[in-house]
């Protein structure tokens, strides 16, 4: 199903759409307030964008530097070219330790690689410990947002889900009660776990260490309790120096949730005494995207989710309409690079309003890349016959003044005199909910000819 079909289904429940829209707009407003508090916000964005640009141009060198320093620190470094390799590396480590239970903190990369179902198929229990992720995990769904994975669910829906899976009492969606119950439940999971998996927000080439940002402290709880910590990162997560962290940490938390700083920004530099620290560095299509000049800057993304919160289409579509690991504006420029056929409707799920590009802390020109993907998709993917013919004909009409005059006159004639049932038919998506413009007696050309003698 295309994005528009899925979004149309989501829109059948208007009250839910309103609620979803307001919840995310609230986060956008919090972000605005937080950003207003920082003098030189636009300068910070510029700086972050330039650092990322530099990283992408020298990615190989920074990765090699990072690996050398990480090894020096006693971290075990693995390289995975795709999702499959990533999953088997993780499994190999888990198996080497005879581990049965894994706790995971939120990581979009492991979502992208479908790590959970893979490990589960090998009889490993994987628990997502971020509260939102946990909610979607027990609901057997995927995250609908990269920072707020369960934003599509109301408190009441979570209440029911917890009653079913955790045996909680009905609480009318009392967030405090529900959070407490989840905390108790997850605490046991942390205590029983053998291996912890985390994502990586920033990996520092200069030091060979990395930073993980969470609001719930769940990455730390996992990593510090178990003997083995596996961190999974995409190759683009590198930043050159520790001193650059300040730029990104200030931007990330504010853009994501409107907080001045994430509650936990945990630095991992080397394994603790007697423990193991692994890092899996994953490509999975990223070098291919890097090679597409028009789309390369999509790899600047620090996964703050601000473009989703600001996107008026995302807010009214729900993340699942995008049918992609990363939904929303950034997902719509990343996903076609992975599977053009599957994701060919995503670059069209936008009015190209540009709000995403303006909000993005690393200044990705998202709406311009959406426009560029459209040109490619129309060439490479089969298009609906009607749409294609209409637009091809339009091209011919608009380059020829005689045809244009004729088309203009006939369209005006049709709009004016054709019976309403012909104009407001199923084929005319404009007219389902909207009236067509009323046709005047003249067009501007005729008026001009009659009233003004052209001076030319």
């Amino acid at each position: 199903m295309s994005h528009s079909e899925k979004a149309a289904i989501f829109n059948k429940n208007e009250a839910k759409v309103n609620w979803h829209d307001k919840a995310l707009w609230y986060v956008r407003e919090k972000r605005d307030n937080a950003a207003h508090g920082v003098k030189g916000w636009e300068y910070l964005r510029d700086t972050a964008s330039k650092i990322k640009g530099n990283v992408l141009s020298n990615l190989d060198n920074y990765l090699i530097e990072f690996e050398a320093n990480a090894l020096k620190n006693g971290i075990k470094v693995h390289w995975a070219s795709d999702a499959k390799e990533h999953n088997s590396i993780v499994y190999k480590i888990v198996k080497e330790h005879n581990a049965k239970k894994v706790v995971k903190s939120k990581s979009m990369l492991t979502e992208e690689c479908h790590l959970n179902p893979y490990l589960e198929s090998k009889n490993i229990e994987v628990v997502d410990t971020d509260l939102g992720e946990y909610i979607v995990q027990i609901a057997k769904e995927t995250p609908s947002h990269i920072v707020l994975p369960a934003i599509h669910k109301t408190k009441e829906e979570v209440d029911e889900l917890f009653q079913e899976h955790l045996g909680t009492k009905p609480s009318n969606g009392n967030p405090e009660y529900l959070t407490n119950e989840a905390r108790k439940h997850l605490r046991n999971k942390f205590l029983q776990a053998d291996v912890a998996i985390t994502g990586v927000n920033f990996a520092i080439a200069e030091t060979g260490g990395f930073v993980v940002c969470t609001n719930e402290g769940n990455a730390d709880m996992g990593a510090h309790l178990v003997p083995v910590h596996i961190a999974c990162m995409g190759i683009e997560k590198i930043i050159p120096k520790e001193e650059h962290l300040g730029v990104f940490l200030r931007l990330l938390a504010r853009s994501a949730t409107g907080q001045p700083i994430t509650t936990y920004s945990s630095h991992f530099n080397k394994p603790a005494e007697g423990k193991e620290l692994h890092i899996v560095i994953v490509d999975n299509g990223r070098t291919e995207q890097l090679s597409r000049e028009d789309f390369r800057s999509s790899l600047h993304c620090i996964r703050c989710g601000a473009c989703m919160n600001t996107c008026p289409i995302y807010r009214r579509s729900g993340g699942h309409s995008y049918d992609a690991t990363i939904p929303g504006p950034i997902g719509s420029i990343l996903s076609p690079g992975k599977d053009l056929t599957k994701h060919s409707s995503l670059p069209f799920a936008s009015t190209l309003c540009g709000s995403c590009s303006n909000v993005c802390p690393v200044k990705i020109n998202i709406h311009e890349q959406l426009y560029k993907w459209r040109q490619i998709i129309v060439k490479e993917e089969p298009q609906p016959f009607v749409k294609k013919s209409i637009l091809k004909i339009a091209g011919k009409v608009l380059e020829n003044r005689t045809l244009y005059n004729f088309a203009g006159k006939s369209a005006r004639f049709m709009l004016k005199y054709a019976p309403k049932f012909m104009i407001y038919s199923k084929l005319n998506a404009w007219g389902n909910a909207r009236d067509l413009p009323e046709v005047k007696n003249t067009n501007f050309d005729d008026w001009y000819k009659a009233k003004r003698k052209n001076k030319k």
């Binding site: 069209f348 749409k387 020829n400 501007f444 052209n454």
Partner: protein
């Protein structure tokens, strides 16, 4: 200064009153204005739908029609944005470059080129300004709510000088209305919902007339207003600025 008047295709055919107001306004401002009679369209609907390739003829025709003028002025932010931004598909001859550099949205032309904000108009109504995305974020006709820049707005500068006009404050002042060209048809559900929400924002703010510098957005909003019989009117900003001056 010779100015070429660009009237977008749908305004020419469906909203001649907007085109007339634009022309009259420029004439009253003593602009030496010409209307090249063989113009059609800037090619935007094709480009935005992914058919940029098929729009080359229309773009070339646009350049032919307007290359001799010092400035090109049109009452539509999104079409002007398209000319400036997407005519890179043509070979960048001196004519193409000249046309792209000298294309102006109407308000931008009045404020930036003519240096005027008080046009002597009067319009005693409560007005809501629809800041169209392509004009706002594309042409930078004003500061955007996402960016932390000092506030400015070309259209507000003009409207604030209209006698009797009360500019109402919206809750989401620059959220997209959901038109988006063929988006309005191919993503109908979302487009309609966005438009309805936008209209509600204006109604909640006590607006009587919605105005803006891009009539395509207004056409979409008008379609919804008329269908739902909402107590609102839409008028292009040229019509307001042209009242009683």
């Amino acid at each position: 200064m010779r100015v070429g008047l660009f009237i977008p295709c749908y305004i020419n055919q469906l909203y001649p009153e907007v085109a007339i107001a634009t022309l009259e306004l420029l004439e009253k401002l003593k602009v030496d204005v010409y209307y090249p009679s063989t113009q059609t369209c800037c090619g935007q609907p094709l480009g935005n739908s992914g058919y940029e390739e098929d729009s080359k003829g229309a773009c070339q025709l646009f350049v032919e029609n307007f290359k001799e003028y010092d400035c090109i002025v049109g009452p539509s932010g999104s079409c002007i944005y398209h000319v400036k931004k997407h005519f890179d598909i043509l070979e960048q001859t001196p004519d193409v470059v000249k046309v792209r550099n000298n294309a102006y949205e109407l308000c931008e032309f009045i404020v930036k080129v003519l240096g005027k904000t008080d046009l002597g108009a009067s319009f005693p109504h409560k007005v809501g300004l629809h800041k169209s995305c392509h004009g706002l974020r594309g042409l930078h006709l004003g500061s955007c709510s996402e960016r932390m820049d000092p506030h400015f707005s070309t259209e507000e500068d003009l409207l604030n000088n209209v006698k009797g006009l009360e500019l109402m404050k919206l809750n989401r002042e620059d959220e997209c209305c959901g038109f988006g060209g063929t988006f309005s048809v191919f993503e109908e559900a979302i487009s309609v919902k966005m438009g309805k929400d936008k209209i509600q924002d204006h109604l909640n703010s006590g607006v009587e007339v919605i105005t803006g510098a891009d009539h395509s957005c207004l056409m979409h909003l008008e379609g919804l207003i008329n269908r739902d019989n909402k107590p609102l009117k839409v008028m292009h900003i040229a019509e307001i600025l042209n009242s009683t001056i």
